[in-house]
Symmetry: C2
Subunit: 615 residues, 2 copies
Amino acid sequence: MISDAAAQAGIDINVPCGGQGRCGRCAVIVESGTARRRSTIRLSAADLEAGYALACQTVIEDDLEIFVPPQEEITRHLTTEKTAAKISVPFEYDWREHQTIAKYFVEMEPPTLGDNTDDLARLEREIAKQYDLRGLHANLHVLQTLARTVRDAEWRVTAVIDRSEIEHARLVDVLPGDKTDSLYGAAVDIGTTTVTVYLVDLLTGEVVETAADYNGQIRRGEDVISRIIFASKGNGLIELQSLVTGTMNRLVERVSARRKIDPKEIYKMIVVGNSTMIHILLGLTPDPIRLTPYITTVNHPPLVTANEINLGIHPQAPVDCLPGVASFMGSDITAGVLSSGTHHSDKVTLFLDIGTNGEMVMGTSEWLVSCACSAGPAFEGAGVYHGMRATTGAIEEVWINHKTFEPTIRVIGGGKSRGLCGSGLISLMAEMFITGVTDKAGSINLNLPTKRVRQGEHGAEYVIVWAEETDIGKDIVITKPDVDNLLRAKAAIYAGYVMLAQSVGMTINDVEQMLIGGSFGQYLNVEKAIEIGLIPDLPWENFHFLGNTAARGAYMALLRRDAREEIADIAKKMTYLELAADNAFTDQFMAALFLPHTDMALFPSVAKVLEGKEE
Amino acid sequence: MISDAAAQAGIDINVPCGGQGRCGRCAVIVESGTARRRSTIRLSAADLEAGYALACQTVIEDDLEIFVPPQEEITRHLTTEKTAAKISVPFEYDWREHQTIAKYFVEMEPPTLGDNTDDLARLEREIAKQYDLRGLHANLHVLQTLARTVRDAEWRVTAVIDRSEIEHARLVDVLPGDKTDSLYGAAVDIGTTTVTVYLVDLLTGEVVETAADYNGQIRRGEDVISRIIFASKGNGLIELQSLVTGTMNRLVERVSARRKIDPKEIYKMIVVGNSTMIHILLGLTPDPIRLTPYITTVNHPPLVTANEINLGIHPQAPVDCLPGVASFMGSDITAGVLSSGTHHSDKVTLFLDIGTNGEMVMGTSEWLVSCACSAGPAFEGAGVYHGMRATTGAIEEVWINHKTFEPTIRVIGGGKSRGLCGSGLISLMAEMFITGVTDKAGSINLNLPTKRVRQGEHGAEYVIVWAEETDIGKDIVITKPDVDNLLRAKAAIYAGYVMLAQSVGMTINDVEQMLIGGSFGQYLNVEKAIEIGLIPDLPWENFHFLGNTAARGAYMALLRRDAREEIADIAKKMTYLELAADNAFTDQFMAALFLPHTDMALFPSVAKVLEGKEE
């Protein structure tokens, strides 16, 4: 394949679908030589004429000259970057009482001929005496330098001790002198798209720095399925693992540099993510996750040390990947439930994490049910011809004049537009529906008195921006296949709500509040999202946008052992509905494949808007 | 140094003293160029004339042409090679009851959409159901391939589980199909000179193969002190570590090949050795062991897995280095006490392990005291001009005609002689003393009517073999400095006995039996050893030669958890006397610097022999 040859030549071609020939975004131009195109999906006749070929689907049969177009840049400054100061300590915190990692300063009696206790036992003896802590486990890495450290430091040292595992205390390191004035930990959320790191001062419990960046794996697949497929080929798993640890290490270096500490001073890390992300991080074969009956290797991963997975914090730091529930219900959600408080609520609560996947939990303090919808990353711009991530140039909001059908747009960064991001797509869909550009079924009305609706190569389409006003030199359009993709995505999510409610003998009308996590939720326009039927038609005050609930849950577990245990309890308590083979789900999905839904009674506020328009 | 340059050029020059310029055995010939000899110890005027220089002590100041003489070969087939059949299972053994490692065959229910338990939990569930074993810990290495293994094996697998640590069961591996028909472990004794491996069938408890070879570290120092010094320079520690693991891995491959198994089928290893050997194996800085007050990093090393120290058995196999007591009282001795039964004896027992070091334990079932004498490896041929290891060409027995003073010798391999090994030296010393070639103080009588006594370059000497009858073209002699070295070595050991007895308010006459371990003990002639005062003057039937007590103790600990715990108890119970700074020891040492001792009353049988001679 051209993509393999390019990789060997050190040229990076993005394969957002993992090299399946699905997304069309690895297109290159074959300028000379013979290449066999195994698939030309997403390439137009004109594209083919111009020499375009999919790098991931084109076999090299000859010496080729290839032109690689500029690859999509990922430049938007993620908004979580600067929010450290806004994150308050979520509960009472006293490191002496709650923290599992601690530093102990000891002054040891030097050995003599009459007291020849070995170095480790001498250290243990002193720690037992001064801190009443016994039964220390030390591994080779720490012992290998212990003799030198205690002697160079003249028997005045700081022991770093981890008690993540109740059964025993583990010696993480022995530092020269008194180093008890600082203690750092990190909470990490590995999203399919975005990785977020909180640097936490474990003495005060405060988040002192945060950083986020795109997951380095994006170039090898935009959604979890693409990643799993990529992982199953050759050294794919190793490559994906090192891409995500690379991202994590860069973020850790960034927060450490800002705090002016060495990343090796981070002595504990809590990680959350969906089960695929965690499997890849730990190097576990993710294949069975995507194949029926969708089984993980492990939902409660063992505690590892940073060096086992090449993380650049202290090599012996405990890295705790929190427990998830199933292949498509990971620790990002169990942590999200914790931080959202769903499991303590006395109201019937629907918790939704809108990220690259669509996971949701319904419950109260008494019960929790959950499901995942293979919504796909349509709302992150994938599977939509002019879809893109929420970076500079993305249209994030659209208004359509209901008389002229002329759109007004808002573009991230304020410059020329390049495509539509998730919130832009929701806004556009809602406006098209309300103004009659589409009907309930999403069909574009070609009879409207505007040039903006027309028959395109992929069927009916609506032009949002004319070529000359864009940054890409092409009309930015939304096509019937795009609309269908978005409808399927939102229908899957809505059907999920219904299935959860039914499983506990309720209807969606019993939901008393809706908590929305995920960074995407922050940009969500509730009115528009209700209009397309992506979220239930509740009073606006019943929606709460919580931001990155996964990272916040990891942060809580980083601080207190009881919060860590609470997440394990949540994972244990949560019933998971496997929708994949459920006919009732298919029925609900079909019913939701309309704007906003077949059953308008479920969306009274939208009905009212439509009535108002008709008046 | 020439030795460094040679190493860089891939030429191996032995430095038996670790590069301290003490032993003179790294001598090379400088054929041209300028070299500065920092030390010329052990080189004669004639040697210097001939261009000899010590590779470890000679600075290169110019381009040099160096002739490297053939390095000492280590070829003798070690006697432990073929003894597997002779080693009987030491106690009742039933693997179901006693063994900490086990294989469990399970047939798992394949997952379904309705039973989506993760792979690990599914395995645990089945093991709990079939074998009532709960709380399995699995590390990343095992989990990384678990999904593939259980699926490829169609859910019929064998779990290998280690319960070395009482608190939890650890999943070592998951094998496809039913592999419960075999289970192997290894017991290893790392001697300073010799490494011994027993391959054990853990189902029957039998030693099925044994192999031994010289410790690959010998070329970097013959005694522990030389090794520690070598370890302290540059990458010395890493080099010594890989030399010993190299030896262990070769031996493991050898026994595995004979048994027709893969070394990866060895799932458990018990290791014993002196504290220096264990520190180096584990990569722990050994420096403080040789410096007052002689402190180890750890006497009870943590359990490690084979991959942590690059051992070629199953990478996740537990490797348990048994507990020692002090810098010069290692697990070779605690294991030796176990296998000798000293700690269960109702007689006052003196247990001596004659190896490269001289460690001894006195005790009964009620008490144990121990000490180590820096005897040095004189009885292994080091520090003696024509000393050598017990390999082909070594004189192992000498008889001297008390009238003509002509010697009769026995040479290992039966060919021409090259030097004297330990048993040969003891035999020679005893004969020289009894026949009057030396007096009580070890002075050689130059007035005897034989050409064999003469004034040599290093003082008085006795010629054992004339040059033309040797394999080296030089007279094989024993010199006054050699005799002094041997006297110091045996005096240190005898003084040790006395100190142990005194420490418990006894005298050496209270010793009721003497147990002698170490392969050297197997060649020891009791009569001769008593005549030079190396062992106490007890009736011959009170001596028991036990062979490799260290390896046998490791083997016992490999079989049964209670034996492993018994060694920990021995280590805890054993009082260690530090003799280094004890004036009483110095007094006893001085008193023992005679043949057989200043106090002839301690050696009545020798007195009788001398009287008989005088008659």
